[in-house]
Amino acid sequence: MSRRLLPSGDAAVLVECDTLEEVLALHDALAADPRPGVVELVPAARTILVAIDPARLPLESAATWVRRIRVEAGSRLAGRTADEVTIPVVYDGDDLSQTAELLGVSPEALAARHQAAEWRVAFIGFAPGFGYLVSDDWPFEVPRLEAPRTRVPAGAVAIAGAFAGAYPRQGPGGWRLIGRTDAPPWAPESDPPALLVPGRRVRFEATQGG
């Protein structure tokens, strides 16, 4: 696999991969073999920012660690960990029927595939706690809404592109709403404050809504 190290100031290096699968596998490898002085790993669609404390780990040593680390080749679920969470979902989203129709399946079938898939949090997107979930078991890809909503409630369960997610807080959004959850995806008083932490495995489970 390819790994390009790009400069990002004196306390971080940006590692670029060719695919999201490679990012996930590299993230797993780095997380499984941490070095003292690595402050955090921030994955994105094609990159991981490796942030360090230069007083504890020279940037050059961090770069060597990233260059040399062995990565299990793999799927989006490579290097599975025990860290898994089940999110209860009421499948009554405003876009469920229309999105199912777009994909040529019934709403029930779409909800069933969403539950059958084993998901993992790939990275956090545009807002605190907004995890982008990917799965090897998810065959669908859908465009975002042409006109984003100005207000999506917290806990809305949604899909867009090949990703699934849950809105952590109320706000604007263009993902397709297929359901909702009572599990708070964002709770600042909790540790960690986000339910959807990069690397975490996720399953969705249908529940009856009130």
């Binding site: 990002s8 100031g9 940006l14 955090e40 994955p43 942030a51 956090i124 545009f126 986000a194 932490v197």
Partner: protein, 287 residues
Amino acid sequence: MTPRLVVRQTGPLALIEDLGRPGLAHLGVPGSGALDRGAAMLANRLVGNPDGAAIIEILVGGFAARFEGETWFAVTGAWGSAALDGRAIAPYTATRATNGGALELGTAERGIRYVLAVRGGIDVPEVLGSRSRDTMAGLGPEPLVAGQVLAIGAEPGASVPLLDQEAAFPPPDGLVTLGVLPGPRADWFTDASRAALFDNGWRLSEQADRVGARLVGTPLARRVPGELASEATVPGSIQVAGDGLPTILLADRPVTGGYPVIAIVAPGSLDAVAQLRPGQAVRFRHA
């Protein structure tokens, strides 16, 4: 009883900040914190606080407050008229406020962000380990409003240090030169544009806040067209938008950005960015 601070006027924007929320970017939480970190740490040291005590970051000025109880305070960062009970006070110096003392900060003449530290620190609940207001993510204490009463924390262990004439330099009002480090996407730009980043002069636009400081000048040309998949940025990243103009991303930036970063303002120059005024001239040099 510990002293309190009653806010009487806020000016355009007065925020509670400390040194922010490091280490949470992987959850989508920016670092946030005082934009002029050096000024925040200095103000805290002047009154015997730990570096990370919460301060008030005051944009432009027009701020007024009354002390309830006697305590020490210090004003750093921007340079302008500061007065306690109508008498001018020295900048970058610990001052003793009497009970009922009225503090007024006039419009900044140099720099643009005052820092006000009070001995004990501003005592508001922490969110994710910090008392900082993150203006983008909407985390932490709301912007201050007139009439608000702020609790002050307990006296720190350290006493107010005795300083001999501390060297205090106002933020520059002319050309500011910022040191920069290589950025991850410099190769997305033409050689001419990479040189132009350093050779050309820039000015701070009116679009400058805690999220980013947008500059105006001759647009930079891209060598690689197309879109960049969003990627994590560090504070000081110089991101170049579709129109070719650079924005220096600051403490409240979103954790990931989708425009290429040509270079990165060195940490040692970031505080100077926090004090730039719209229209002020900026140059980059290799750090």
